[in-house]
Amino acid sequence: MGPLPLFPQEASSFAPDVDHLLYYLLAVAVFFTVGIFLTIFYFAIRYRRRSDKELPRFVHTGMTLEIVWSVIPFGLAMVMFTWGASIFFNEGRPPADAIPIYVVGKQWMWKLQHIEGQREIDELHIPVGRPVRLTMTSEDVIHSFYVPAFRTKEDVVPGRYSTTWFTPTKPGKYHLFCAEYCGTNHSRMIGWIYVMQPQDYQNWLNGGSASGSMADSGQKLFQSLACGNCHHPDGRGRCPSLVGLYGSDVLLSNGATVKADDSYIRESILQPDAQIVAGYQPIMPTFQGLVTEEGVVQLIEYVKSLGKPGPPVTATPQQVTAPHR
């Protein structure tokens, strides 16, 4: 038997926020629980039945009382709501300079990639003090990425990207759990997060056996799948150029405009016919089954590496591509 911990470690910038909110909720909960218990005890003893013939007086319902004890809890609850929502709001907004990490969940393991190219299974090394943004998807069923010490959790859903982020504040080794039931070995789908000093992290990055950055791997994949046959960088191919695509607004054949983010690029690879860029024919075959989820994120990184938005995405003059935002 181990020690008896009563409170989890606080190891991310969210942890203190969440815990402070918890103290408030605990205070309210304890106040009402104790209050009600004591009142019941007091009434039960004070007004116990003394004779069988006893008939208590009728006490009229007090309207004021009813309103008071509806409004006060409501007020307290609204404080909880606002406070909780503001934390949730922050949790949903990763800062722009966050370190991107790609996560693929699979029965029953976590596969993680750094953009520098390091790949890890059930382990994640990150530096202390810098925000980390996770882009996650699943190869099979729904999983959930949960790090109690960071107070973060987000479901990992097949067929789409979900994101979450955190800033670790204390070096150390923390549990990573899968929190959405995912089959036989759900309880073994756990791993460790290593939060390191920046220097150690740099050493770790350099010391790894990474075979080039994610963008490099993406480029290799891009070549081996012969994507370049159509997607010419100068836009003269049968398909749109990918240079400067990432983050830009793309005009589609049905007149709508979408932002070229991770989900858009993923969909364009796996279901190319779903959204056709204006001025092009739906000739691209699907790569569903040919590229793994990990490969897809490498391709995305490669597309990202082709430049930020600025120059027009498409070459043909009648296509209008609005500049970024």
Partner: protein, 490 residues
Amino acid sequence: MIRIELLTPNGHLFSSDTYNKLFTMHGVVMIFFFLIPSIPAVLGNFFLPLMIGARDLAFPRINLLSWYLLVIGGLFAIFAMLAGGVDTGWTFYTPYSTTYSNTWVIATALGIFVAGFSSILTGLNFIVTIHRMRAPGMTWFRMPLFVWAHYATSLIQVLGTPVLAVTLVLIFCERVFHIGIFDPALGGDPVLFQHLFWFYSHPAVYIMILPAMGVISELISVYSRKPIFGYSFVAFSSVAIAVLGFLVWGHHLFVSTQSFFAGMVFSFLSYFVAIPSAIKVFNWTATLYKGSISFETPMLYAFGFIGLFTIGGLTGLFLACLGIDVHVTDTYFVVAHFHYIMVGGAIMGYLGGLHYWWPKMTGRMYPEGWAKLSALVIFLGFNLTFFPQFILGYLGMPRRYHTYPSEFQVLHVLSTAGASVLAVGYIIPVIYFIWSLRYGAVASSNPWGATGLEWRTPSPPPVQNFEKIPVVTHDAYDYSTTIGEVIEVG
């Protein structure tokens, strides 16, 4: 209870597969075949007509049909269990349940589907009965609160269960024909399932707790010989809970890639449910004020209910709170929370009601001493089992884990010890209830000095409930008319 026993060691007793099947069956059986039907089917069927002065429910044959359906549904579930079990969890999340699980999902889903119809028919029967079968003088605001609670419950059953049914039909089609409604590979959306599922299953929680609240309202009033404080508030809070219950399903999905805005709305609405719940607790407590309180077993259960429901309800606020929920959802915190509501609430209410009406149903008294002892044991065992789970949850122990890191062990051991105590607490009543059928003291028509119509007919009641349909002239819980007067029987 069985499943806590295997939680102690680091999972040497069973394989992970077995463990997953066990907790799934525990969830399915407890929720769909015990908690949902328990109070309505046993106490509701028996007492609802009695309490409003009707000879029977509006559709006795439909009632019988719903009983058969429940049995058939149960047989399907038992078949699934014997044939090899299911390992999807009672929530059947897609795509695991539709594509990846190799177990008996269809049989179980079919069982729940059939049992669902039983639930729909019961609800339908209650609503019609309450609308059309009340005795002369039994106006809406003279109805006992037990009846009000059942009315609210029936509304949920009638409106919510069909959605579960259609969801299960889709699961069924998906598994058999692979049509792709929830399969992302074919363009389906696995999270849509969660929306449909929780649209029923959150209100289903209120199907389980509302009847128990109704029972508690009866008990508190009888054993303090006072009308319920704020009768109309308590009555309407039941309906309010039923209605609001349909608007908050999204709070199960805060971390399911739901949009921030949706999360906000559902969190906000969830807090509204807290208000009618708080109103009930405060009004019950206020009823005690200047009452004449006696401590028979049902009253002990009522006290237990209020205490545990308060804890369960307040921890619900933690879960409705976005910032905290992200951390504690899908952990033992949730497990503890819903056991406080379901076991601490619904089962305490069921046991309280069963003791209270036992003399009426069987014509025999249960042994008071043993009953008080078991009530105490259950209360203590329950808290020992589930309170440590709150701490475990905040520490980050995820639910549905067969094995777990060693730092959680102390609390798990405590919890397991509590479960054994709880088990003893549940066995005692089973024994003495059976014993009392034969050897219990013969009960009078109104052993508690209560006011309800069900106490104005012999124990047990005749086939037609009343020899002459009573005419109601007073509000519910009007003790000035019963105490000290001879109550005419029949």
